[in-house]
């Protein structure tokens, strides 16, 4: 059963009297454990689609079914918050870490709000995930004491620490150099393989696409290409 089923998703932005369609009817299914990249030129609608999948934005029409049961359009704002809290992980281009918290606390934030673990379990989880992303020994550093790549690793750890079923990453390597980008992507791929977490990226970086196990191209708000496999034909 698909983890996500998008059914004729449309999104129209209203700018004054003008309607600007961002997504023009996308239907697709994402299976559990997929490592998917959505690519396309700027303004093609990939970030909008990612935001809709992540319940940060609502589609103008269409629906998303999660895990074969839950129709996201039927959830209230608070239910959507809870849905995100327990099921989704986000990685943003700008990492969006809280500057007054240490790397440990930034990661811990994601599971403190779930509050399902004891303090000892929480600590172990956070330290394990930080070690997995190569930040062992840097737990007590604040974001301003970390490099760009290290900050993004903290953001990855924060997204993964609660073992979400789905991680959404919006251009996660956009602010990183190519070497650091590869390190970060290696980590995400490792996590995908180790934990079975489903990843969906949006990007226009060919380097990111190389890692993908499924490539979905979007142009003008429509899926123009959808390909799966090990050796995908990465556009340049």
């Amino acid at each position: 059963m698909a983890l996500l089923k998008l059914d004729d998703i449309k999104k129209v932005y209203h700018q004054g009297k003008i309607d600007v369609p961002a997504i023009r009817g996308i239907s697709l299914e994402i299976e559990k454990g997929e490592f998917t990249t959505i690519f396309g030129p700027s303004g093609s609608g990939k970030t909008t689609l990612l935001n809709i999948i992540g319940c940060l934005d609502k589609p103008s029409s269409g629906d998303i079914t999660y895990d074969g049961q839950k129709k996201l359009s039927e959830l209230s704002k608070n239910e959507l918050s809870d849905f995100r809290r327990y099921n989704l992980g986000f990685i943003f281009q700008g990492h969006n870490l809280i500057p007054v918290l240490t790397a440990f606390e930034n990661v811990e934030f994601a599971i403190r709000i779930i509050d399902e673990n004891t303090k000892k379990e929480r600590r172990k989880k956070v330290l394990d995930i930080l070690e997995s992303v190569g930040l062992k020994g840097l737990e007590n550093r604040k974001p301003n004491e970390l490099s760009g790549g290290q900050k993004q690793r903290v953001a990855i750890a924060r997204a993964l620490v609660k073992n979400p079923k789905l991680v959404l990453a919006d251009e996660p390597t956009a602010n990183l150099d190519s070497e650091t980008s590869e390190e970060v992507l290696d980590i995400m791929l490792k996590m995908n393989e180790k934990l079975g977490t489903t990843f969906i990226f949006s990007t226009h970086d060919p380097q990111v696409m190389k890692y993908a196990r499924r490539l979905i191209e979007i142009r003008d708000g429509k899926v123009t290409h959808d390909e799966q496999g090990e050796d995908l034909d990465v556009p340049h």
Partner: protein, 412 residues
């Protein structure tokens, strides 16, 4: 708990802004505490002056006289009875009593007349209740004879000096006109404008003879060991009078100072104004800080929403942060206020510099006011500072927390 910890850590993000906002609140609290202390000091001084110069702690008079006391009637006076007086003194358990006879008169200097309040006193007994003699500016208090003492304001108005002869014109109990020609033996400069400007003191027996009322007086006046006992003692006396079917009634200093207490209550409006100033200062400061913080943290707010935080949880972070600012402001404000009140209670403030020697607007106050301590005010204002900060932060925090998460995350 984690959100509380985050809110407290957020206070350190912009230390200067946090401190400036807290100082604004501190300033408001400081002003309030100093102003309140001044009011407390003024209230105490006012009441003390009134008690020490005019009312005493307790008065006994006929009930009918009490009802018409503003007109200083010649009816319903007390026929002095040593036996009853002794019984009263036994109940009160004091020898600090005196009797006074008050009547309306006009003072005349040969050219002009001015309405005054004439008071017949027995100077020796009066000393046991009042400290009038301490305020003799020139001359002496009379002991007996055709003598009077008046206030400085009245002496200046009528052009009298010590040794001059004063004529008092009044009506006797029967309504016939009479006069007293008396020598001015002393001029008072009391910390009570009414005494300085309208009172003429003369020997009790001279007043009684001139009014043709025998040994009658308007009232008995008492000084107690502790003024806080006045209500209890007046109740006891009234029980005693009622049991005997007497028309006498006892009145405690609070009943006697009703107008003054009402005036003091009016002074509390000043405190309300100060509270309003604090509310405005704290509200503007906190709203400004929360809006700035929310604007700066839009990406974080978006991230928090993406993590699954609800609006109320994000509002909670801002509100706790503001409570922290309020707490810091309140601590500083109370400390500064404490220092200010200590200085005022130790060194006082000269009222003469504030009023430039002019009238004190009818309030009986001396030339120097000392601040008073009210611990309850300190406790109240401490929590008030925190609560106002919390209340002021709610709306701007909601404004920030309700931002569309997509716009918040990508606002750049």
């Amino acid at each position: 708990m984690f959100l509380t910890k985050l809110a407290i850590k957020n206070l350190t993000r912009h230390k200067r802004r946090t401190i400036i906002t807290a100082l604004v609140i501190s300033f408001g609290i400081f002003i309030f505490l100093v102003s309140d202390s001044l009011m407390v000091g003024m209230r105490d001084l006012t009441l003390n002056n009134s008690i020490n110069l005019q009312t005493g702690h307790l008065q006994v008079m006929n009930e009918e006289y009490w009802n018409e006391k503003e007109e200083l009637p010649m009816d319903n006076l007390i026929d002095q009875n040593p036996v009853i007086l002794e019984q009263i003194n036994n109940i009160i358990n004091t020898d600090n009593y005196t009797s006074r006879l008050q009547f309306s008169a006009s003072i005349n200097n040969g050219r002009e007349e001015f309405p005054i309040n004439a008071i017949g006193i027995n100077p020796e007994r009066d000393k046991k209740v009042f400290n009038l003699e301490e305020y003799i500016l020139e001359g002496d208090m009379f002991t007996e004879g055709q003598n009077v003492v008046i206030g400085k304001g009245l002496a200046n108005l009528m052009g009298f000096s010590v040794g001059d002869y004063v004529t008092l014109l009044f009506r006797t109990k029967e309504g016939t006109f009479n006069t007293i020609d008396a020598q001015l033996t002393g001029i008072l400069d009391a910390p009570h404008p009414e005494i300085n400007e309208f009172h003429v003191y003369l020997p009790l027996d001279l007043a009684q003879d001139s009014l043709n009322i025998g040994n009658k007086v308007s009232k008995y006046l008492f000084r107690l060991d502790n003024r806080d006992n006045s209500i209890e003692i007046s109740n006891k006396l009234n029980t005693f009078f009622n049991d005997r079917g007497s028309s006498l009634q006892a009145y405690n200093w609070e009943q006697l100072s009703q107008e003054l207490l009402a005036m003091i209550q009016q002074g509390n409006i000043e405190n309300l104004v100060m509270l309003l100033i604090i509310i405005i200062l704290a509200t503007v400061g906190v709203i400004n800080t929360v809006i700035l913080s929310a604007l700066e943290r839009l990406e974080e707010i978006g991230m928090m929403k993406a993590l699954g935080l609800k609006v109320r949880e994000i509002v909670y972070v801002f509100v706790i942060e503001s409570a922290g600012i309020g707490f810091i402001g309140s601590v500083f404000g109370v400390l500064l206020g404490g220092i200010g009140v200590y200085l005022m209670s130790t060194f006082g403030i000269s009222i003469s510099t504030m009023t430039e020697g002019q009238t004190t607007f009818g309030i009986p106050i001396a030339d120097k006011i000392y601040g008073g301590w009210e611990i309850n005010t300190f406790i109240f204002i401490f929590f008030f500072g925190i609560i106002i900060s919390i209340l002021a932060s709610i709306l701007p925090a909601m404004w920030g927390a309700k931002k569309d998460p997509v716009k918040a995350i990508y606002h750049k």
